[in-house]
Subunit: 259 residues, 4 copies
C-alpha cells in the first residue's frame, strides 16, 4: 500500500543547540521511499551519517528562537505483517554476527533482571515465535496504555511493576522479556497507518526462524501499514531528536494517509 | 544555491534482469537533499544497501519490456567550490585509514604505470594542491572532449595515449596521475549546473591538506553547483546502473535547474 | 614497556553452550601485540568477528565438562598515561560521528538520571578534562572498593546509592556521571600491571579536547602499564565471556608481568 | 591440521618510508590462530586498522637502514578443501550485498574484456562450480608457471596473451574469467603447506551455491593446508607490503611446517 507519512516538529530554542535528528526513513527492509521532503524553518548546515544500526542521522545546530522541522514521505509498504505461529527459536550459534548485540541488556531493557517473569508468562509455549507472541499478548492485556504515566527515564522494570505506559514502554517491556529468553529483539520507531490517536509510534521486532518478525503490544491484532524510521536496542538508540542543551519541543503534528 | 536535479532513464529489457542502481544522492558532504522522488514505471521489489564507499545502492530485478526509472531531487548545495592554491601534500602517515585505499591503482586508473608522465606534467610544482591543479589543467588543455571516442573498457592509459574522451575518461586520467604522486584521489559522479550539453557528469576529488578538494578537468574554471551521487575508486565502483543481463538503455534525459 | 599478560579461565559446562568470548587484545591505540597465544582445552570450531566497537569476538560452542580457555600476549605499551589538566570540553558539534553514541545512557550507566549529582561533584570546575578528573577523584574517595558487594545487575545508580563496589562499578559510575555532562565516555576492559590483587580490570576513557583520555577511579594516581582488550558503552558490551546456557566459571587466573 | 607458518622479510630503507603491511592472518573462516608472533627489528610505533575487506592492516614508518619484519603463527586449518561438482550458479539477485563488489572489474582483472574467452573455455558446462573448475583447469594446463616473466603491472589480459606467469597472475586470470561469467570471485593471499618452492602464495575463491569455494590454478589437485592472510578484489587490495617511498625488499624467507 502507498502511504503518505510526515511530521512537523516545533522547537523553542534558547541558545544554539547541537541536535541529532533521526527522521529519515530508509528504503529497503520491505519499504520503498518514493518521495521525500525534509526541510527546516531556517537554513542551517546539516551533516548526515549512518549510525551502527544503519539509521540515517542528521546533525545540526538548532538556531535560537522557534525552529521547525518538517519531514514527509510517500512510501510503498505492506498492508499486513507476516505472522508465523510455530516458527522455531533460532539457535544462538546460528545467529548472524550482527544480530548478537540484540541479545544484550540495554538502558531501558534490563533483560538480565526479568527472566523469571518471562518464564512465567510463556509457560510451556514452544521456544520461538509463539513465545514472543505470548509475551506481546500478555503485555497487551496486562499493561494499561495511558499518556503521562511514564517519562524519559522509565524502563522495562518500571513498567513491569507499574503496569502502565505508552508505546515506548510497551516496547521496552517486550524487548526485555524476549531477550531474557535469548531471543534477539530490537526496537523500531516509525509510523503506523490509522494509529489512534495519530502520533509517532514504536514497536519491536524479534529474530526467530532466521529472520525478523514484527510485534506490536499496543495493538489487538497484527497490523500492516508501517513505515520504519529507525532501529536500535531501545529508546536510547532511536530518539527521533536528541538535543544537547535547553530546547523544548512545543508542538508536534504527525500524519499518515493512504495515498 | 538550490538546484532541482533529476534524470529519466528508459531501459529495454529482454528478460528479467538483476540490476543495481546508484541514483540517490545522499545528504551530507556539503549538500542537503530537501526533496526527493524515485519511481519506476512498474512496481518492483527494491532493496537498498550502503556500499563500502557509503553510497546508497538499489537492487531490483528489472521486468521485461520498457522499464523507466525516474529520480529527482531538490538540493541545497554550494554555488562555488573551494580552491586552495599552495595547500600542502598530506603525508601518507597522516592520512585517515579509510583514505588509504584511494592511493591504490584500480581498473581504469593504472596509477602504477604513469608516474613518469605525472612527474613530467607537474615538474617543479610544490607537492599538494598545486600538483593536482597542474594535472587538471594539463588534461583540460591536452585531451579533447569528444563523444563516441571511448567505451566502457577505456582506461586512463588509453586516454593518455589517445588524448580524447568524455568526462569519465578525463576523471580516470586525472585520478591515475594524481595517485601516482601518492595523492589520494577518488571519482565522483553527479550533476553539474549549466553543464553543456546537459548530462550526468563525473569529476574527481583529491585529498590534500587534510581534506578532499574538487577538481573538474572538463571545465575551464572552478565551478560550483554540483550534486554528488556516488564516490568510488573509478567508474567500476560508481556505475549509475549495473545490469546483469541483456538490457539496453534506450533513452536518458537529465535536468538541472535553479529552484 | 613490554608486558606479558594472560588469563586462564576454567568453565564447568553442563551441556554444549554457545559462547562469545572477547579475550583478544588488538594492536593499535597505543599498544602492539608482539606475541599471542589463544588455546582451548578441547578443540572446537571457532569463528571470529569484529563487533560495532571494533572488538575481536570469538564465537564457539563450549563442550560439556571442564572447558579451559587460556590466552596470553606479549604487548608493547606505554608505562604512563597521558594527563591533561585544563584540556577543554569538546563541543558536541565537533565530535566525530562515531563518538556520539558514547553520550547516550546505557544499561549500567543511566546518565539521564544523575546530572544533578554530576553538577554537584564538579562544581565550578572548567568543562572538560578537569571535570572528568574531579569525578574520578570523587569516586576514588567516596566509593569503597570491596568484592562481593555488587553483581551482574548492579548499575551506576545502585553504586551511587550504596557507595561500594568493584572496578566495574567504579567505571559505570564514572561513565554515567561524565555522560550526564555531555562528555563522551566509554568503558575499557583489560590488564593493568601491578594491579592488587591481580585480576582482569576495567577503567574508562573520556573524550575531551578531541581525543580519548584514560581515567581509573580505583587508583590513587595515574598509572600506565595497561593493555586494553575491549571497548564499549558499559559492561553489557564488553563481557569477556557471554554464555547462553548453564555454565559456571569455576576458576580464573590472571597474570601481568614485565617482560 | 596444525601448521606453523611464518615469514621474515628484510627491507633496505633509504629514508623513513610510510608502509602498510598486511601480514596478520585472522581467525575465522575455517582457521584458528593458536599462536602468533609479529616483531620488527627496530621498535617503531604501529597502528592497526581493519580495511573494507576485513583484513587487519598495520601502518608504520619504516626507519632508515635494514628493517626486518618477522611474523609467524600456529594455525589450525583444514587439511583439505571442499569441492562441489555440480554446485549451481548463485543468482545475482540472491547474492549477499557485500559479495556484489566481487563481480566488478578491477585493476588486474579486467573482466569486462574477456567474456568471449570465458565462454569459449567453459563451453556447455553447467553454470556454477563446474564453470569455475573448467577455468581453473584450463589455466593450469595452458599457462606456464615461470618466475621473472611478469611484474607488478602485469594484468589478467597480459597473462591471457602471454600464457606465462606466477601464482598472482594465475589468480588474476581466473578471477577475471569467472567474473565475466557473473560469478563473484576474490583473491586470497596466504600460506600453502608443501608449496614448491616455498613462498607466500595466492589463490582465489568463487561464490557459488551460496558460499565461497577455494580454487588454485597452480596446483594439479585440490589441496588443503591453507592459511589465508588477506582477501580482496585483486593484488592491488592485498599487497602484503605497500611502501610509499624508495624501499627495496632484499630478502624474504617463508616457512610452513606441520606442527
Amino acid at each position: 500500500m502507498r502511504l503518505e507519512v510526515g511530521c512537523k516538529i516545533t522547537f523553542e530554542i534558547d541558545e544554539p543547540t547541537p541536535t541529532v535528528l533521526m527522521l529519515r526513513p530508509r528504503s529497503g527492509d520491505g519499504q520503498w521511499i518514493t518521495e521525500e521532503r525534509y526541510t527546516f524553518s531556517q537554513q542551517v548546515p546539516v551533516a548526515e551519517y549512518v549510525d551502527t544500526y544503519g539509521n540515517l542521522c542528521q546533525r545540526l545546530t538548532a538556531p535560537t528562537g522557534e525552529f521547525i522541522v518538517t519531514t514527509s514521505a510517500v512510501v510503498e509498504t505492506a498492508d499486513h505483517i507476516d505472522v508465523a505461529p510455530g516458527a522455531p527459536f533460532t539457535l544462538i550459534q546460528d545467529l548472524p554476527d550482527d544480530v548478537l548485540q540484540f541479545l544484550l541488556p540495554s538502558r531501558y531493557c534490563q533483560s538480565d533482571r526479568c527472566s523469571q517473569q518471562a518464564s512465567d508468562i510463556v509457560g510451556d509455549v514452544e521456544p520461538g515465535y509463539d513465545q514472543v507472541e505470548a509475551i506481546r499478548r500478555w503485555i497487551h492485556h496486562t499493561v494499561t496504555y495511558q499518556y503521562g504515566t511514564s517519562n524519559a527515564s522509565t524502563s522495562a522494570m518500571d513498567t513491569l511493576e507499574q503496569k502502565v505506559g505508552v508505546c515506548r514502554d510497551f516496547v521496552h517491556l517486550g524487548v526485555a522479556l524476549c531477550r531474557s529468553l535469548d531471543i534477539p529483539t530490537r526496537m523500531v520507531v516509525g509510523y503506523l497507518y490509522q494509529l489512534e490517536p495519530m502520533d509517532l509510534h514504536a514497536w519491536f521486532e524479534a529474530f526467530v526462524d532466521g529472520r525478523w518478525y514484527t510485534f506490536d503490544a499496543t495493538q489487538a491484532e497484527p497490523r500492516g501499514g508501517r513505515v520504519a524510521i529507525a532501529y536500535g536496542r531501545d529508546a536510547a538508540d532511536v530518539a527521533l531528536a536528541t538535543q544537547f542543551g535547553p530546547a523544548s519541543l512545543t508542538n508536534m503534528r504527525v500524519w499518515v494517509t493512504q495515498g
